[in-house]
Amino acid sequence: MSSAMITRCHRLATLTIITMLGCSSALGVEPDEILSDPALEARARSISSDLRCLVCQNQSIDDSNAPLARDLRLLVRDRLKAGDSDEEVRTYIVARYGEFVLLRPPFNIRTVLLWLAPLLVLLAAITSAIRIFVRRPPRSSRTGAPALTGAEEEKLRALLAEANKTEKS
């Protein structure tokens, strides 16, 4: 890593102190890198926006003006020109730079919780919401009065029967 690159990293780190993105005027793709075939170039852009610039903080190689990002952009374009599919390009880059380079983490044993977590949280939230409707405390406990005992129930039933009888008569 060149010393310029290291100072750049340091600068990036200090920048984050104020919040918001820590990167200098990010300019990414240079005119001389652009492929003549627009379809191929579009694929290159889409791939590189998902690849991390390894010497920056949270920047894709598509947005970064670090020399390493440029090298990676050129590498992506070289592989595409050589006829690789998008997936092959990604595999090629990961083989050399590790999974850290992927801004979209792959689904594997290490990231299974990461990918499933939103779903689990959603289910948990829905479950606790359903409980509001299903496990409503009975009315009596809501008003604070204790539930009736068996004897009291009996008495109540008798009283109601009495009342019904008088009503009918």
């Binding site: 600068r11 780190a13 200090t14 920048l15 984050t16 102190i17 104020i18 919040t19 918001m20 993105l21 820590g22 990167c23 200098s24 005027s25 990010a26 300019l27 990414g28 793709v29 240079e30 005119p31 001389d32 652009i34 998902d50 991390r52 903080q57 949270n58 920047q59 894709s60 947005d63 590790g98 999974e99 850290f100 380079v101 992927l102 801004l103 979209r104 983490p105 290490r110 990231t111 919780l113 990461l114 977590a117 939103p118 949280v121 959603l122 939230a125 829905i126 919401a129 509001i132 409707f133 409503r136 405390p137 809501r142």
Partner: protein
């Protein structure tokens, strides 16, 4: 001398805060009114002392006192006055002073304006608020003292990072912190209520204005940061899912959920448990954000391990308050009585859905932000969680939220009529479909789902207006009667409409600019022209210029459209004197239909310049939407019911909405 006064005032503020933490709470515990009442003067005094401390630091910056280490590290004598002032909070130590100052401001505001609060609640709230101040004053004094002197004093300072020398960014931290720290009031109220064991509709009514004020500031703070990133970082991006951005988004999401939840609690005494939990979480996430940004843990887990003192201190503060709050919640939540019953399809039900989706979205952002840190700390494996992850998880959660949003306010409390609401929203749906068709007809590129996103934004905007129209019964009664009803609406009703309208506008802006952005990257020599989005740009060449503390090379672009002169754009490349850093200033021609955005790049060997031209359609809607949300909050805050605070039980029977 003044610096020492500032330092001393900070120490005194700590002592006052300790006093304020202990005495009123003890008074509330033993029922001694005199002890409880000392909370008020203590809170005002604490704020005054912190104010003196902050002014002393500002004085050191404004007069460029280079005997103070903090000023040397972050300021420079040639810096314009505005940035010498904003430099105060443009660094770790100073920003922590701002943090406690705002914390004390909220405490003082409760002391000054909370006249109608019950004595014990007020005493406990001020005590809890003071305990946070104690923790942060200690943190500043022990690990991050901004008043430290340096001997011998250097002739000049190191300067402020040039890309931070910007008007929007000068005011971004105060707004953001007011938002962050403002949730401390909701937290203090929640903890105080749990201690007392008293939690009712009146409590929700007292908490709401503070939460709303904090939420408004956070909204503007985040929007300002995003706007700054848009024009300063030089390629027109406005949101990056950067951990530091996420740190501010998480409290915003939790705070938004809290605002909506508190409405249910105020009106119907339901969802108490959720409201209290969200109040604790919103502030805990603010603390988490402070920890993430301040500890250096984001740069790398290793950076944190090398200089762990500050990080561990904030981690301890965070654990103490989050853990304490949640533990108290776990102990006391069971005792909270359930409030009014309601059917799933009802205003309450809609707000429950709002809470589910917002908290899940918040949790998703939290997990995405922390996962790589935790994974690296546990296994040493490094992974990146970038924008693609957040777009894939956050996006789908927003979709049902936006669809449900216009329905919510149209449903009645307790039991709503969803078919009736759907009928009223028919007009919004028709306009949304028109937008959808127009988008497909106009753009033959971009993601296939983008027109649906635009339609959704339109649906939300029109839906918000329909809600207001329904309230004043447009069409059902003569327009004169509608107008009379409009005047009679509470301000909070307008607040809701405005805020929801703002959300819709923002969605339209986000979708349009993400899906239909145009871009051209090319080499231009003086005299060359290029075309984008109907504009013609003629490059006039680049000339050198000197600013107050920088030199720059300014490119001139004459912009015409259909033969008419539109603008002259002057993007530049700057080199600042101190620190000597290059930045790039974009040339932007703003318009309703979108921004033309030109960036001047490096000189090429053949005498040309690398030039980037972007067209960002409807991008301003994003920030205008945020501003309208802010206004909605402000209008709602001015509502008499919130200002007078005392809950009035209205006896009127809740008239069910006319069946349709």
């Amino acid at each position: 001398m003044i610096v020492e006064v500032g330092h001393f005032a900070l120490v005194l503020a700590l002592l006052v805060a300790i006093f304020q933490m202990v005495v009123p709470a003890w008074g509330a515990h033993v029922g001694d009114e005199r002890l409880m009442r000392v909370g008020e003067p203590a809170a005002l005094c604490q704020f005054g002392l912190l104010g003196i401390s902050a002014l002393a630091l500002t004085h050191a910056y404004v007069t460029s006192d280079f005997s103070v280490a903090n000023v040397v590290a972050n300021s420079h004598s040639t810096k314009p006055l505005l940035y010498r002032i904003s430099g105060v909070w443009g660094n770790h130590e100073g920003s922590m002073v701002l943090w406690v100052l705002i914390l004390a401001l909220f405490g003082a505001a409760v002391a000054a304006f909370g006249r109608n609060l019950p004595e014990t609640l007020k005493a406990n709230v001020l005590s809890v608020q003071a305990s946070i101040a104690v923790a942060f004053c200690l943190f500043i004094l022990l690990t991050s003292n901004p008043f430290e002197r340096i001997n011998p004093a250097p002739a000049d300072g190191n300067g402020l990072n040039p890309i931070l020398q910007d008007p929007a960014l000068a005011f971004h931290p105060p707004f953001l912190y007011t938002g962050y720290v403002g949730f401390s009031i909701a937290f203090s109220f929640a903890v105080a209520a749990l201690i007392e064991g008293r939690l009712d509709a009146a409590w929700a009514r007292w908490v709401r204005p503070w939460t709303l004020a904090a939420w408004m500031c956070l909204t503007v703070g985040i929007a300002m940061g995003s706007w700054w990133a848009y024009y300063e970082l030089g390629w027109g991006g406005w949101w990056f899912w950067d951990p530091v951005e996420n740190a501010s988004l998480m409290p915003w999401l939790a705070g938004t959920a809290l605002l909506h939840c508190a409405v249910v609690m105020e009106k119907r005494e339901a969802l108490k448990v959720w409201t209290v939990l969200l109040a604790i979480l919103a502030f805990s996430l603010s603390l988490m954000g402070t920890f993430l940004v301040r500890s250096g843990v984001l740069t790398s887990v290793h950076a944190f391990a090398v200089d762990p003192q500050r990080g561990i201190f904030i981690l301890a503060i965070m654990t103490l308050f989050t853990g304490g709050g949640l533990a108290l919640f776990a102990l006391r939540a069971r005792n909270l009585r359930q409030g009014g019953l309601f059917a799933p399809i009802s205003r309450e039900g809609a707000l429950v859905l709002n809470n589910i989706l917002l908290t899940t979205a918040c949790a998703t952002v939290l997990i995405g932000t922390l996962y790589p840190l935790v994974l690296e700390a546990l296994t040493g494996a490094k992974i990146s969680v970038g924008p693609p992850y957040f777009n894939m998880t956050f996006g789908p959660l927003m979709l049902p939220l936006l669809i449900a949003l216009p329905f919510g306010p149209l449903l009645t409390w307790k039991r709503g009529d969803i078919l009736g609401a759907a009928q009223r929203l028919m007009f919004a749906a028709v306009l949304a479909i028109v937008a959808l068709v127009l988008a497909y007809a106009t753009f033959h590129r971009g993601p296939i789902l983008a027109p649906f996103g635009l339609a959704l934004g339109v649906f939300v905007m029109v839906g918000a207006l329909i809600e207001l129209a329904t309230r004043v019964r447009v069409g059902d009664v003569p327009w004169r009667e509608s107008l009379r009803r409009l005047k009679g609406q509470p301000r909070s009703a307008f607040g809701t409409t405005l805020a929801h309208f703002g959300v819709g506008l923002m969605v339209v802006g986000i979708v349009a600019t993400s899906a239909y952005r145009e871009e051209k990257i090319l080499v231009m020599k003086p005299g060359d022209t290029t075309q984008l989005a109907g504009y013609t740009l003629a490059f006039q060449g680049a000339t050198p210029r000197t600013g107050p503390n920088y030199r720059e090379q300014v490119g001139g672009f004459d912009v015409t459209r259909g033969g008419n002169d539109i603008a002259v754009l002057e993007p530049s490349k700057r080199i600042y004197d101190a620190p000597p850093q290059p930045t790039s200033e974009a040339g932007i021609h703003p318009a309703w239909r979108g921004d033309l955005y030109v960036v001047l790049g490096d000189n090429q060997n053949d005498g040309g310049f690398a030039v980037r031209v972007y067209f960002n359609p409807l991008v301003r809607f994003i920030w205008i939407g945020a501003l309208i949300m802010f206004l909605g909050g402000a209008v709602s805050l001015s509502d008499r019911r919130l200002r007078i605070g005392v809950p009035r039980r209205t006896r009127r029977a809740t008239a069910p909405a006319p069946a349709e």
